[in-house]
């Protein structure tokens, strides 16, 4: 376990306590992001350069999806590769060529770094450059790291999107201001947001990532970026480096979060408040109606979040403000103070936020608090259930459409279901 660093107790200035913790972490690595990213970018392929462990992890995370001709695979490093680096680059080229021959429909190939490839310092950016030249113009090759030593779970998406940013077309300084929504969203959610922005009169709205490699949006000094996901620190920085401006906003979870998120864009583009109200009113009304029944179930419930995806803060804000739940502890693997400021401002005073993890200590706190609902990973869920605690496994929150007005009810239902189930079971 990591040595405990002296822990500074910071106050975000809004009554929220932020504490850092180091030790054993029960989290996924960034490779896991591939499982949903490959479904979003439909002509991209993700080739992990790693060990059998990496292949085994993706297989465990992808479950049955592995057989629907998925667009990801692992180039497993073996003993021969470890003998010499030059040989390894040739091996990588050979594997890549074989892959592209088998999948001629691929337009964008990501070489994804892993712990083993990072530790032996295999130069994947250079490999990507080399392969890009030899496979051009049919296939572009990019690289990013999804290793556990550098990324936690959703940070894999951040690394992937950040790798895309330098490749995006440039818009001129005098171009019409445009809105760029950043973060992979379910197609259904993306379409809903596109309609809402259109009703507000925003004409230039793009999404990153796009659904196809050849259709990635342009970026420039007149681009305003709105983060749809809370884990996009590097991507936002890369976009800002290209002149784009980030619009601070809470994340579009729940009715309140969605409205505030949309309003950040509306304000930036000078949308008339009345028009904004008209555009959002039907969605807001539907969200309110959908959320109503769950308030009785979730109101007053004491909730404990283990760190997983960085979605914990916005989810906790939704549960406490819109559902009336009480927050015991909100764990997050990483906390970007800037991006999270609007969320922190909305959390109730006294909320305990813990960045990082020391697993056994955190489990002790959870057991002592005996929460009504614990949000945690699949490694912990059944053991905690066996101890009598109701759990909600957190990975589902990444695979299920939860953003926007029309998913607000579904989001509440995800938390309510384990509680309802407990009342039904009589044995």
């Amino acid at each position: 376990m990591n040595a405990h660093a002296p822990i500074p107790t910071a106050d975000a200035g809004c009554g929220v306590t932020i504490r850092q913790e180091r030790g054993q972490r029960a989290v996924f690595c960034g490779l896991t992001g591939i499982v949903w990213l490959h479904r979003k970018i439909q002509d991209a392929f993700f080739l992990v350069v790693g060990s059998r462990t990496c292949a085994h992890l993706i297989q465990s995370a992808a479950g049955v999806m592995i057989f629907a001709e998925p667009r990801f695979a692992t180039a497993i490093i073996d003993e021969r590769d470890l003998a010499g680096l030059a040989d390894m680059n040739e091996e990588l080229d050979r594997v890549t060529r074989r892959l592209i021959e088998r999948r001629p429909d691929i337009r964008l190939l990501f070489l994804v770094g892993s712990c083993p490839s990072e530790v032996i310092k295999l130069d994947l950016p250079r490999a990507a450059q080399r392969l890009s030249q030899s496979l051009s113009p049919d296939v572009r090759v990019l690289s990013y790291s999804g290793s556990g030593i550098e990324t936690t779970f959703t940070q894999g998406e951040d690394a992937c999107l950040a790798a895309l940013v330098p490749e995006l077309p440039r818009t001129e300084a005098e171009a019409v201001p445009s809105l760029l929504v950043v973060g992979a969203l379910a197609d259904v959610v993306e379409d809903q947001f596109a309609r809402l922005f259109a009703e507000m009169g925003l004409e230039h709205v793009d999404f990153l990532p796009a659904r196809r490699a050849g259709a990635m949006p342009a970026v420039g000094p007149n681009t305003r970026i709105l983060l749809a996901q809370p884990f996009l620190a590097d991507t936002a920085r890369a976009l800002e480096a290209r002149g784009a401006t980030r619009l601070p906003a809470p994340f579009p979870l729940g009715a309140e979060g969605t409205t505030a998120w949309l309003r950040a864009a509306a304000d930036a583009f000078g949308v008339d408040p009345r028009r904004f109200a008209e555009a959002t009113a039907p969605g807001l009304r539907r969200a309110e109606r959908a959320l109503g029944p769950y308030r009785a179930l979730l109101g007053g419930r004491r909730v404990f979040f283990f760190p997983d995806s960085q979605l914990e803060l916005p989810l906790a804000r939704f549960l406490s403000r819109e559902m009336g739940a009480t927050l015991i502890e909100v764990g997050t693997p990483y906390l970007h103070r800037g991006h999270m400021a609007p969320e922190l401002a909305l959390l109730p005073a006294g909320t305990e936020v813990v960045e990082g993890q020391s697993l056994d200590a955190q489990m002790d706190r959870c057991r002592a608090a005996r929460p009504d609902l614990t949000v945690c990973g699949l490694g912990l869920a059944n053991p905690l259930e066996a101890e009598g605690l109701a759990t909600k496994w957190s990975i589902e929150l990444l695979f299920t459409p939860i953003q926007g007005y029309d998913q607000a009810g579904d989001l509440a239902e995800l938390f309510a279901r384990p509680l309802v189930r407990r009342t039904r079971l009589e044995v």
Partner: protein, 525 residues
Amino acid sequence: MQLTLWTYEGPPHIGAMRVATAMRGLHYVLHAPQGDTYADLLFTMIERRDARPPVTYTTFQARDLGADTAAIFQNAVSEAYARFQPEAMIVGASCTAELIQDDPGGLARALDLPIPVIPLELPAYQKKENWGASETFYRLVRALAGPKAEPAPRAGRRPLCNILGPTALGFRHRDDLVEIEKLLGALGIDVNVVAPRGASPADLGRLSAADFNVVLYPEIARAAAQHLQKTFGQPLVETVPIGVGATIRFVEEVAALANVDPAPVLAGAPSRLPWYSRSVDSTYLTGKRVFIFGDATHALAIARVAAAELGFKVVGLGTYTREFAREVRAEAALHGIEATITDDYLDVEAAIQAAQAELVLGTQMERHIAKRLGVPCAVISAPIHVQDFPARHSPQMGFEGANVLFDTLVHPLMMGLEEHLLGMFREDAEFHDGAAPSHLTRHGTAPSVPEAPEPAAPVIDTPPQTSAPDDAPAAWEASAEKELKKIPFFVRGKARANTERFARERALSRITVETLYDAKAHFGR
């Protein structure tokens, strides 16, 4: 580098986890980067365990690389010892930690803990999960099994044996163990220690008290049992009691070692499989073409059951366990085929297609392959998904295991009567090709009507081609095409392929009704 989409086995440290999780009072400290804890969910979700595996990970991150990963490791060992108070510990590295070359064994030794701490060397870039389990169990037994207990004189006491091999995340290990303990009990043999499943390090210290060892899963326990044989002179039984014949052999071998009479256990009809297999409904199973793939233990055992106890024809046999390739090749030779030794599922898929199997017995992967090919399938080996850790008692071993096997292997095929009816009434509304299974018919929808039997004459009556290239498929005459439609749909594809192959080999340019039946006679089994 090997391009991999699916892997049959995890890395070797997963094998070590399977041993540690199976045991009590043992803790595993694994030097591993953040993220490797994904392995926990194999145990908590797939096997539905109610506690976290007894594994502490160092979960180092990039900022820790440098001097202090060794300190992190030592910290993890001390804290795990203080918190869990295990009787013994195993320590080792996952693939990434192997590269950074901290020495878990040496670092742990330096802490001088008052319990045995056993270092594991698991070369992650050469070896895999089953090897890791075998090596871990062997190291544990080597470190903890001595010294030789003075055996009580055999006169006046019941024979005593150890059962070796069942682990966590093992395919049906839980229920196999129940069956084997029942058999041994019926023979009047006592069980000294079951390991690794359920054993503590102290239990491993008592291994030498037994008269002999029963090895249930050779790929996990052979190395340990051979060590016990060498060190304590304990003989071992390695016959895997899967199937009726193998169970009888197992009982006889165990009885001989224990010097007891096997007759009472074998008397009567201890399994229903032999009668079920002889009953007339099973006649249609004769010569069914079956492809078998899995770990070596199960592939070998199931091949014998399939051929000798169910009357199938084994048209494919293979394993991903390279350590047992020789034995699987020898078994395949007995069936007149060549074994498929591979860990690439695409090779397995190609072999299944080439063998024209009518039933696939394999792992979770073969289940998906068979689904894609439209071939019936049953799961007989790990890797498996959550549904193959069933709530109900479902052993593979022993006489009850044979009952389970009969049901499991036969159910994916249509029952004999059902198959017969389908053949007889294939033109009827209920049985035509497009009809959904009766239990799936939705209320309120009109039953679909079979297509008019007369096809809208596709280009069939073309004049014979004079200069057709050798590999061009011969044209089907309308009458032959119509005759083909009368063959049950589930073998029609095969009939078409065989007939076309027959025509191609004989350079026939047209396929007539005669050709169809000539081909049938030629390829008939």
